[in-house]
Symmetry: C2
Subunit: 346 residues, 2 copies
Amino acid sequence: MGWEHDNGPKVRIMGTANIKDVAARAGVSVGTVSNVLNDSPRVAPESAKRVRAAIADLGYVRNDAARQLRAGRSNNVGLIVPDARNPFFADVALGAEEAASGRGLSVLTGNVDGNADREAMYLGLFEEQRAYGVLISPLRNVEPRLEALHDRGIPVVQVDRVARGERISSVSVDDVVGGRLAIEHLLGRGRRRIAFIGGPAGIRQVEDRHRGAVTGLAATPGARLERIDTGAQTVLEGRRAGERLRARPPRRRPDAVFAANDLLALGALQALVMAGDIRVPEDIAVIGYDDIDFAASAVVPLTSVRQPARTIGARALELLLTEGEDPGVGAQQIVYQPELVVRESS
Amino acid sequence: MGWEHDNGPKVRIMGTANIKDVAARAGVSVGTVSNVLNDSPRVAPESAKRVRAAIADLGYVRNDAARQLRAGRSNNVGLIVPDARNPFFADVALGAEEAASGRGLSVLTGNVDGNADREAMYLGLFEEQRAYGVLISPLRNVEPRLEALHDRGIPVVQVDRVARGERISSVSVDDVVGGRLAIEHLLGRGRRRIAFIGGPAGIRQVEDRHRGAVTGLAATPGARLERIDTGAQTVLEGRRAGERLRARPPRRRPDAVFAANDLLALGALQALVMAGDIRVPEDIAVIGYDDIDFAASAVVPLTSVRQPARTIGARALELLLTEGEDPGVGAQQIVYQPELVVRESS
DNA sequence: TCGTACGGATGAATCGTTTCAACATGAAGG
DNA sequence: CCTTCATGTTGAAACGATTCATCCGTACGA
């Protein structure tokens, strides 16, 4: 190459070295360096040592973009969650991350925060990045979009929502059953005027849980279900809904509240007991959904419908792997059953 | 090219089309397609229309790896959080995401879950990906690592921790002041035997808050601070610590608990009041840290030290931008002041 | 008529890695 | 001495987008 001597000005700025520089410094070819990087067995120990020394000297770090370009796909799994502030999804993420580590995959999470545009943005991002796969708990129905990813060779698994079509896999919990469990529990406690507090209409989880509640109610004559819509599924919105109930004259209040998730339930619970004139569960029973950690330490420990969040995340990632390895296998729908956790609030 | 006719077998499998295919189909050069993709002004409307039609027909999606390879950096900002289950970090993330959107950047979050290996893994990942920048709330001191990223041209901002060196920017809240605020509040309520419950020793936030507590205590003779170490900063660990306190004979119990974060505080609070023989705050006052949403809806609404989580995230991202645009500017250390939020638990 | 300016379009070079057919070397076997 | 085999190593091709010097027409002014 003609610059063995006078290496002063040839020194690259630290951190810009590429595989060629490493090869030159170690006195081997780029192919050999690449073999060392991917610890292929076909490298003599002596060469490997020199290569590793050169890497350390130059502060070389592999350029993943080039690697991906060549490979055609990346080793990142995209996880798209509707609301990172909901601990339920943090748990799902944890399950996925645990399953991914050790298999050379990394999970990168995109937080949609209830915004459909951002959901589309992250889907586009992972598509452009040719992610190894995508896990998504969609806000609304985006299956056409997901099938497009699938066709591009990016495995997709829907989390917390059963896929309608037959091409996308999913891992979920039966929310209709969960809603029914909740309502039957309240009915069993003698409650008849029940309020359902739920996030923006159209959100699948909300609708399914509501539907389950309606179903469960049908068998009991005289039982009523009122629906209170909220703008989002947050503690704040729950509090607002609770305040609206508290503002009513006592006899127009429900005798039980079923919230579509624990954030709403905790907010509502707080608003109800705040003034002290309403007792939970005596006057109004409250039940939530997800059984997040905070449910147990609420003003009144919260009855809730538990979902196996971590298991869901882990299982979803495993489905992704099987599809990634063998794209031929058909889609699978895995449905877990929810579990009622009774505490003092009901 | 010789295949204008007989386009049957030439049709690419949907989703594998590249920019050349688009160019061929639109009857223009790849350069022109690229110009359309990056909406450069130098394209005749007519050509642009044909290109867009071709893109739609072929289901073309840009390959980000190739784009990044050429560009030398990506448009993704990596956010590394120590514990996604702590709503505080979800809020920080939200702040960063809001600041990023609209500037063509996406935030991808890596959850370390208290595991230093995974922290290193995500740092390596974002380095290999040549991320636009990295925001990190480090578990322990990783500044050497961060400076390496910095030298490679990847801006780094430490979140929730003041940088020691002068090369890395940071956005944080003064945890020593926060610890002092908490302890002074408890002292002001007449408490003298205080227990500090904190995550694994060595975690910076824990140590700073503890240090602040010790400082605040010094002025009051007769006041004692006991330290109870936990293995992690979770609700569960907090509950365990609370149970240990409850198991003591009444006179050996503290008269106040200061927890290093709200998760610990909520767990401890729950354990303390569970049996009913301990009253909060009469027998034992409890104060937490972060003022997460759930603090207000706890068994006994929790007094806490508030940090402006969203602002921190947003500000950190802005620092990243200024460094990204002009790498010459020096590092900045932004420190916010914490704020005491008094509720019923103290 | 010639020169020039300008809006558009072109396509080869480039980014950094992996892959793989081909090659070099030495040892073992006939 | 000639094959055959195993073990390492080589380096050019390929991945797909962006960039930029160059080129093509056309219109306008002198």
